[in-house]
Structures are given as structure tokens and as C-alpha cells.
């Protein structure tokens, strides 16, 4: 099937306005009659729920945490992009658009990305009005800094806690609507199923994580804002609870999953220290504004970094990418670091790390300036490693971070299932094969504040409100299926813990579907995963019961989905015989080691349709059409 992204016709700059003008509206008096479900309350979910509530819709919001303020968007550190051109350094909406599309290795959708660049400016205005304390200069104006893959300073930031402050802004807006009564919040509640009636998404089934009760909620439309799936690798920068379940179960109900193999490996994370490690911590990319990345020139040089003289250091990003240097994009910087370590020139006792050195910046700017810019990041680094990065360079290594893939959506953020909208990281739409820094926050908020409020009305205006209620047989079936699933999980009573399975899956994924893949490794993963899955269903041990707070049971459901989803990722990576962005196939590279894209054969979105757990999924394509930019080789040299 050839998928239609439903982008409006006409010049790029007019597309969004055109669409807004052609969309149907719901009259203010009718809005409260429509019920909308928002699953997930991170940046995309909180902003969507708040804005839809403010418009007068009847919103039910769900999150697995105890409070919407804890969505993982809160952990984003460095900043949010906008094309304000406040620094007068040549930025523009077109340039932000172009950087993003190039950064994504020309695997994103032009119209979406342009709209994102346009809306970026509204986001900053909105957040300032909400009281987000962005950094200011002494005259009272907003400050900017730079991020990877760009040559202008367009990143707005609130110290190293930008995600936190933006989320608290959205959480405030959401709290206001909860007080107003337009939004009903369900914390500690996890979405486990999507309910489709007559081909349209009409509700969800959830588990109350405190009582264990499985409950159904009917609505006129459903918005999934449930984040990314990088935890398929077990160790990632994601929160422990981040999972693929909501998106994956929607996929099993017929929503297409697009580009699952596009995952971002972030170059600047704290290296793994031990077997029992539960997660990896990211150090903001903004550190590369002032930090210089290097490794020893000699193999297996185990001297402490300060003892290695300048002449024996290799500043490999500056050497290989002189134009962008330490601000080379994430996929490029990650691979460069991995190559160096694979050569045996890695830093630290494990050899899997490179140095991020601030000595020059301290000399140039003084320690105080650095403390002002990144103080909390240095503190965090010291807590985790016990090392003072003002005195010795940080050790960093790439780690799984952000999912560019996600459920397929059209320009209206609607999936192929009518009534199912997908926002933020949970959809696939705006970042192509690689996401540039400081643009995840931008997309989450653009989707929630400024896109979904318009596009959802077009769907709702064409559908009668209250078509179904929780008494519909589809809801009963969904609830019974989930109760059966819970019973099945609890009855296995095997010998291995859920975490052991997750670690094993993570190892398979990282080794074979990680930063570099090839036909052989992918086929190996596709062979190994079903075996592990079978073992899981025969040998997992989950204590307790289903009618109480049971964290092992929660984890088990998520890992069960990862055990299927991992295979989908590998299949997607295997079929894409090219290298692009975060998807690097060793067979497809230039003589100098850079990614070799194949625009002739793979310039499309790969959207997969579920056909059964043990059957291969069916591929549908949405051709990517570039009318305004030329498909160029990505060059950061």
C-alpha cells in the first residue's frame, strides 16, 4: 500500500495556513460534548491535554507516574530550538527547517518539518508567558546557545534543566484545566490496549497500578503521547518506566509502526560502570559548546588524562569535521567515538569512553562562567562517577537515547486508524533518521499546543459525539483479553526474573541492532529474539498477584512487548539496505566511513502492519517527496 501523508498542496510556507483554513471546526457549544483521551503527560501529552481542555473539550488524561510532572521530558537538559534569530546570526525559519531535514538525513517529511520550524517561535512566546525562566542577559533579553549540527545559536535554555522547566510550564497549564474540571487526571494508570470500534479508535483499556483493576474508557478520539522505546536496549538514557507498550499494542490493533530502526545513540553519556547498572545518564550535548572531545593517540594508553601531553592527544571530531568540530551531529559524533574505541584508543579502564575536556574553556572563560553555564551537569557527573570534571576531563560514551521511529501519522498527526492521533516522540514524523539536539522538546510542544488542537477538530467535526460507551462488546473483549494476559503472566512461575530477560534482550539488541548493523547481525537478532520470547513465556517468574500494586507485573508486560518489538526493529533495519542517520549499515558506507544513503531505493517511510506475532509484518511505503530542498550528501566537514 502506498500511504498518503496528506500534506497540503502549495508553497511550503503556506501549507499549514492552507490546512488550517480548510479544516472543519467544532462549535464552542459542542466541544464539551466530545471526549478526548490523552495517554501520557510528558511535554506532548500535558500540552495537548491542557490545550484541548482549555478549548472546552472533555479530556481524560492518563499517566503511569504518580504525577504528570514526572514525565520523562523532565530530564531533557540542554534546550529548545526556535528560529527567532535574536542573536542576529543569520537564522531563519527556512534555515531551521533545512538544518532539521539535513540533520535527519533526508528521511523526514518536508511539510511537517517546515511547520515545526514555523511553530518553534510561538512555543518560546508561549513558554515565556507561562513563566518558564529561560536564561536572560543583563539587559533582560533571552539568551541563546548552540547545539550539534547547526552553525547558529538558536537554542533557548533554562540552565541545564530546560526540559524540566518546559514540562513544569505545561504541567501548570494542565493543572489549571484539572482545577477547571475540563481535564480529569488518572495518575498511576497505564494504558494497555487501544479499542477500535467500526474501524475507529474509540477508547483505551488501562490498569490502575495501585488496585490492579483493569478498566475501560470510551472517547470520541484518542491521543497517544507515550514517548519513545529506547529501553528496548535495556540500558538507555530513558526513565526506567519508559516503554513501548501503548504504541505497540496500538500497532497490534492495526496502527502502522513507522521506521522503528531509526534510534538515536547519543554521543555524550556517562559510560557503563558495572553489570548491575540499571540505566545510563546523559550529559547534555550543550557541553560540546565548550568541551573538546579527544582520546589518546596511542593504543591502550592508560595514563590519567592530565598526564597525556597535548601532542599525544587526538581531537578527532575537530580533525575529521573541521567545519562543525565538536558540534558535529549526534549520529556522526557517536560513530566517531565508537570507531576510536574499537581501534583500542578508548579512554578509561574499560576502554569504552572518550574524554570531554573543559580545560581550554576554563582557561578562556574561567571556572565561574562554566559553573554558571553547566554547573548542575558537572554536579551530576560527580555524583555518578565520583570525579570532578573541573579538574579532569569527563569520560563519555554513546548510549541509546531517542526514538525517531514511532507510529505512522499523516500531516494531521492522525495514524492510519481514524480517531487515533499520535504526538511527540511516540510518532515518527519530524526527525527523519536522526534528531538534532534541542528539537525533541520543540516537537512535543508544537504537537501539543499548536497542531493537535486544530487537526483533531477536523476529525471530530465529522463524527457524532458519544458514538459508543464502555458497555460496547469491544470494550468487554479488551478487558477480558487483558485479564487473561495478566493471569497467564502470573501463572508461569518460572525461574528467571523479568529484569534478566530484559538484560538479555538488551544485549542482543545492542550487539546486533545497535550503533552499527549489517545483514549478518540483523539476521542473528531475528533468529535469537523469538527463542528468548519463547523462553520468557515458559520461564519468567512474577511474584504477587494481579489485584494489587505489583511492579514486577508492570515490568513483565512491558518487557513482553519489547520482546516482540525488538524483532520488528531488526526487520526494519534489515530491509533498509542503506545507511542514514542513526541507521548505520556497515555494508553501506563511503570510502571515508561516512553513511551511504540510497535515495533511489529507500527515500520512503517504512510503515509496518502487524500480521501476527510469529509472522513477518507487512511493509507499506510513504514516498518522501522533496520539492524544496535538494537531496544532498550530508557533509559536516
Amino acid at each position: 500500500m502506498i500511504l498518503n501523508g496528506k500534506c497540503p498542496a502549495g508553497p511550503l510556507a503556506e501549507k499549514w495556513d492552507r490546512r488550517r483554513n480548510e479544516m472543519k471546526l467544532v462549535s464552542p457549544a459542542n466541544k464539551r460534548k466530545y471526549k478526548i483521551i490523552v495517554a501520557g503527560t510528558g511535554l506532548a501529552g500535558a500540552s495537548a491535554a491542557a490545550t484541548l481542555g482549555e478549548l472546552g473539550y472533555n479530556v481524560e488524561a492518563f499517566c503511569y507516574q504518580d504525577s504528570p510532572r514526572r514525565g520523562h521530558s523532565i530530564a531533557a537538559q540542554g534546550g529548545i530550538n526556535a528560529a527567532k534569530n535574536y542573536p542576529n546570526d543569520g537564522d531563519s525559519i527556512f534555515r531551521l527547517f533545512y538544518d532539521t531535514i539535513k540533520g535527519g538525513d533526508f528521511r523526514g517529511r518536508e511539510a511537517n518539518i517546515y511547520r515545526l520550524a514555523v511553530l518553534s517561535n510561538n512555543i518560546i512566546d508561549q513558554c515565556v508567558a507561562q513563566g518558564v525562566p529561560f536564561a536572560r542577559d543583563y539587559a533582560g533579553y533571552l539568551e541563546n546557545r548552540s547545539f550539534g549540527g547547526v552553525q547558529v545559536s538558536r537554542t533557548f535554555y533554562a540552565r541545564g534543566q530546560t526540559g524540566q522547566q518546559l514540562l513544569l510550564g505545561a504541567y501548570g497549564a494542565l493543572s489549571r484545566q484539572i482545577k477547571e474540571g475540563t481535564v480529569r487526571l488518572h495518575p498511576r494508570t497505564e494504558m494497555l490496549d487501544l479499542v477500535i470500534i467500526d474501524g475507529e479508535a474509540k477508547g483505551i483499556t488501562v490498569r490502575d497500578l495501585v488496585t490492579g483493576k483493569i478498566e475501560c474508557y470510551a472517547a470520541d478520539a484518542v491521543c497517544l503521547c507515550t514517548g519513545g522505546y529506547a529501553n528496548v536496549f535495556h540500558l538507555s538514557t530513558n526513565a526506567m518506566g519508559s516503554n513501548v507498550t501503548a504504541a505497540y499494542r496500538a500497532y497490534k490493533k492495526g496502527a502502522f509502526f513507522a521506521n522503528p530502526c531509526f534510534t538515536q545513540i547519543h554521543p555524550t553519556c556517562i559510560p557503563v560502570s558495572g553489570e548491575q547498572q540499571s540505566k545510563l545518564t546523559l550529559m547534555s550535548e550543550s557541553l560540546r559548546n565548550d568541551g573538546r572531545v579527544w582520546t589518546p593517540k596511542n593504543k591502550r594508553d592508560r595514563r590519567v588524562p592530565n598526564d597525556i601531553p597535548e601532542a599525544e592527544r587526538d581531537y578527532f571530531l575537530e580533525r575529521k569535521y573541521p567545519a562543525y568540530g565538536n558540534l558535529a551531529p549526534r549520529d556522526i559524533a557517536s560513530r566517531a567515538a565508537k570507531d576510536i574505541c574499537d581501534e583500542g584508543r578508548g579512554a578509561g579502564s574499560s576502554g569504552y569512553g572518550v574524554y570531554l575536556d573543559f580545560a581550554d574553556a576554563i582557561k578562556r572563560l574561567g571556572e565561574n562562567k562554566l559553573r554558571e553555564r553547566y554547573g548542575n551537569l558537572f554536579d551530576m557527573y560527580e555524583k555518578i562517577t565520583g570525579e570532578n570534571a573541573y579538574r579532569q576531563p569527563m569520560r563519555i560514551y554513546p548510549a541509546p537515547h531517542y526514538a525517531m521511529g514511532g507510529l505512522w501519522v499523516d500531516y494531521n498527526l492522525q495514524s492510519n486508524v481514524p480517531g487515533l492521533f499520535v504526538l511527540g516522540e511516540a510518532n515518527f514524523s519530524d526527525h527523519g533518521a536522526n534528531r538534532l539536539g534541542a528539537s525533541a522538546l520543540m516537537q512535543g510542544l508544537a504537537d501539543g499546543y499548536f497542531i493537535i488542537p486544530y487537526t483533531i477538530s477536523d476529525y471530530l467535526a465529522q463524527t457524532a459525539f458519544g458514538k459508543v460507551n464502555e458497555g460496547h462488546p469491544e470494550f468487554r473483549k479488551s478487558r477480558e483479553d487483558l485479564e487473561t494476559l495478566t493471569k497467564k503472566l502470573l501463572s508461569i512461575n518460572g525461574r528467571k526474573t523479568v529484569s534478566e530477560f530484559h538484560r538479555e534482550l538488551g544485549r542482543i539488541m545492542w550487539d546486533n541492532v545497535g550503533m552499527e548493523r549489517n545483514e549478518e547481525s540483523l539476521k542473528k537478532a531475528i533468529a535469537l529474539i523469538p527463542g528468548l520470547r519463547t523462553e520468557f513465556w515458559g520461564n519468567v517468574k512474577i511474584p504477587g498477584n494481579g489485584i494489587e500494586l505489583n511492579q514486577e507485573l508492570e515490568k513483565a508486560g512491558r518487557v513482553a512487548d519489547f520482546l516482540e518489538f525488538g524483532e520488528l526493529m531488526a526487520r526494519d533495519a534489515l530491509h533498509r539496505n542503506e545507511s542514514c542517520g542513526g541507521h548505520f549499515r556497515t555494508e553501506y558506507q563511503m570510502p571515508d566511513g561516512e553513511a551511504r544513503r540510497d535515495d533511489e531505493n529507500f527515500c520512503y517511510v517504512a510503515a509496518w502492519e502487524f500480521k501476527g506475532v510469529d509472522k513477518g509484518p507487512e511493509l507499506h511505503k510513504e514516498p518522501l517527496v522533496f520539492e524544496n530542498v535538494e537531496l544532498a550528501v550530508r557533509n559536516y566537514k
Partner: protein, 251 residues
């Protein structure tokens, strides 16, 4: 290292809880406190026992989900550190460690180390925000803001809403939490308009949720993982006095 743990176990809100003893063996100094508990829990599961339920999520000190009292101190012995960022290098081989849930009247225990902190959300819902509609706002640089004010607002808004301040306070007071939000918004021109109303409704909400009053013990500041200062409580009091003096009618 090997440790002896005394962990609070409580099946549900209405059940009686008690401390139970567990052994944590072969713990490395690099592990975080929660990773140490993960290891203990895996052992319990393998032995057919119920693992200890505890709240956690981002494990990088920012989401505010983790909430344990370690050896009598919320978030444990290290200053400005959440439990998830507390590493085992802060303990010694052979140590005994007492692990309990956050305790406060407004935070009922749900299970083991998990408490219900939704009272804090309701304090925010009472008015801890700027009532701005989406869209139609002025350009971000249209209203200037002194760097110092932005800095102070940021210092205050760093609060992660973990509730350690409440758990550490002999009165179970949420004054530091509320003060942080009131200060954050009062420092900004956009937040000034509702400042008087905000401080009154938030203070009322605080009382209604069963949080106590501040009587200057400073325990909140001592345990705050983000270093939120008690000066903000003074600011809260000033804002409150201002509001009461100028109060016309009720809020």
C-alpha cells in the same frame, strides 16, 4: 561490600507495617542505592518472596519520583542528592541501613516504601501557575526580565516536587514546596498579576491537605535534593502578608 538492611514492609494503606531484615551481598561501590535494592529484589524474587515496592523512574535525580528515608534522613546521608543519585560508595562494608517511606499525615503509605504525594499536585492545582491561554501571547522579548530575577525564579523552580521537605519537617509542612512555586512565579512580570490570589489559594490548599505549618526547623532545606532555600519561605510569608493587607473581599 555486604550490608544489613532494615526495610519497612507494609502491604497496603490499612495494614500494619514493620521493619524487616535483609542481607545485601557483593554490592559494588559504583552502584546507585536503587541498583543495590534492585539486586536485593532479584534475590527475593528468585527465593519466591515478594520484592520491596519503591517509587523510582528517571534515576538521574530530576523526576522526583524516588522517595525513601535512609537512616532517618529523606533521600539519605548525602547533601543535595536524590536516592537514585546516592551511590554505594557513600556506605561502608558491614553497614546497617534503615530504609523507610516518607512519613507525613498528607502522604499516606500505598505499599512498602511508596507513598501517595498527590496532595502536592492539588496544591499546584489550586493556583500554582500563570493563567495564560495558549496562543495569542506577546513576543518572548516584548517583556524584559532582569537577569537576577530570572536567576532567582530558576533557583526556586528547580524544585522537583519529591516531598522530602515534608518528610523531614517535624510538622509535616509543605511550606518549602509551596514557597518555591510562589517565589518562582512572583519573580516574573507575567506571574505578578495573580500573585496575591495565588499565595492565598495555595496556602489554603496546603492547610486543607493536612500539611502543617513552618516553625523554622530548617530540616526541609537540609534534605532538599535541589538545594531550595528557606529564604523562599520568608518570601512566601511576605507575599502572603502583602496579599492579606491588600485583600479586598475573599479569594
Amino acid at each position: 561490600m555486604n550490608l544489613t538492611l532494615f526495610i519497612w514492609r507494609q502491604k497496603g494503606p490499612d495494614e500494619k507495617g514493620r521493619l524487616e531484615q535483609y542481607e545485601a551481598k557483593n554490592i559494588s561501590a559504583e552502584m546507585s542505592f536503587l541498583e543495590m535494592l534492585d539486586v536485593v529484589n532479584e534475590g527475593l524474587i528468585k527465593n519466591g518472596k515478594e520484592p520491596v515496592a519503591f517509587d523510582h523512574d528517571c534515576r538521574e535525580g530530576i523526576c522526583g519520583m524516588c522517595s525513601q528515608v535512609i537512616n532517618g534522613v529523606p533521600h539519605g546521608p548525602k547533601e543535595k542528592t536524590t536516592v537514585c543519585q546516592l551511590h554505594m560508595r557513600n556506605f561502608k562494608d558491614g553497614d546497617s541501613i534503615y530504609i523507610e517511606p516518607f512519613r507525613a499525615r498528607a502522604f499516606p503509605v500505598i505499599k512498602d516504601l511508596i507513598v501517595d504525594r498527590s496532595a502536592l499536585d492539588r496544591v499546584i492545582q489550586s493556583g500554582g501557575y500563570i493563567s495564560v491561554h495558549t496562543g495569542g501571547v506577546p513576543d518572548a522579548n516584548a517583556i524584559l526580565l532582569p537577569k537576577e530575577n530570572a536567576g532567582t525564579a530558576m533557583d526556586a523552580s528547580e524544585c522537583i516536587g519529591c516531598g522530602a521537605c515534608v518528610a523531614a519537617c517535624p510538622n509535616g509542612s509543605a511550606m518549602l514546596f509551596t514557597a518555591a512555586k510562589v517565589t518562582h512565579l512572583a519573580m516574573l512580570p507575567q506571574g505578578k498579576i495573580e500573585a496575591a490570589r495565588r499565595v492565598c489559594v495555595m496556602t489554603d490548599a496546603m492547610m486543607n491537605e493536612g500539611f502543617g505549618n513552618c516553625s523554622n526547623h530548617y530540616e526541609c532545606q537540609a534534605v532538599c535534593p535541589k538545594g531550595i532555600k528557606v529564604q523562599f519561605i520568608a518570601k512566601l510569608n511576605r507575599e502572603f502578608m502583602k496579599a492579606v493587607i491588600h485583600r479586598k473581599g475573599g479569594f
